[in-house]
Symmetry: C2
């Protein structure tokens, strides 16, 4: 009978968990006070500041409920400002504050280092194959 360890989904889970812990540890060690998830949401807003919370959720593979709460924390921390949109009062204008921009800048080198360390000695071809197989899995279950 197959053991849990043999299952590919365990490797996928293990790799992403290990990467998250590794990345978060490096960020915290650098004295940057933000979680990877908060950064991810902030970065998504930076890339498109007219995006809706629903679309942020979709883009980050999170739930809209989680996005509401993460945005709340980002506002509390002073990285983000949030105001009702006049055109559609169900939605919000989300804008990075100066501090928000600063922290995105500050994170950049760590993100790079984390990624390159995690992918050390792995060829482009391997990455492309990895990506392609993962996309197959994703499309199989949608």
């Amino acid at each position: 009978m197959e053991k849990l360890n043999d299952i590919i989904f365990y490797s996928i889970e293990k790799s992403i968990k290990a990467y998250r812990q590794f990345a978060q540890k490096n960020i915290s060690k650098a004295g940057i006070e933000i979680t990877i998830d908060q950064w991810l949401v902030l970065k998504t807003i930076e890339e498109d500041n007219s995006i809706s919370q629903k679309d942020i959720a979709h883009k980050t593979f999170k739930d809209v409920a989680s996005i509401t709460r993460i945005i709340e924390l980002l506002v509390q921390k002073g990285y983000l400002s949030r105001n009702l949109k006049s055109e559609d009062r169900r939605r919000f204008d989300l804008t990075l504050t100066n501090e928000g921009n600063v922290i995105i800048e500050k994170m950049q080198p760590y993100i790079q280092i984390n990624r390159s360390q995690a992918l050390k000695n792995i060829t482009n071809e391997e990455i492309m194959n990895l990506q392609s197989t993962l996309l197959k899995i994703i499309s199989n279950i949608n």
Copy 2:
């Protein structure tokens, strides 16, 4: 500048999240009242009923604190019994109840179906490559 979407870690995260949602939905739809995480812990105990909570945590890539809480829920639900070990009173004897065994049995076909649907049209070679690249990533960050 690279967009979030291009990053391989997003595909890894997306695939595992999609798989978990897909699997959980199928289980719930079948009227089985257990979470994937609870099942995972129960299955781990079934495979080795002398395992410590610390080792369950290690094996499932979870935190010992989470294991404590998940075990509590499994006991509450009547799937697991927990008694102090006489040899080492810091530890517990964890044993599946009849109901626990029944639910593991009941889950089995769904687990199989979920896995085979997710891996449909993906060759063994691809899976092996996926596994091997993921293991490289894991070892790079440990």
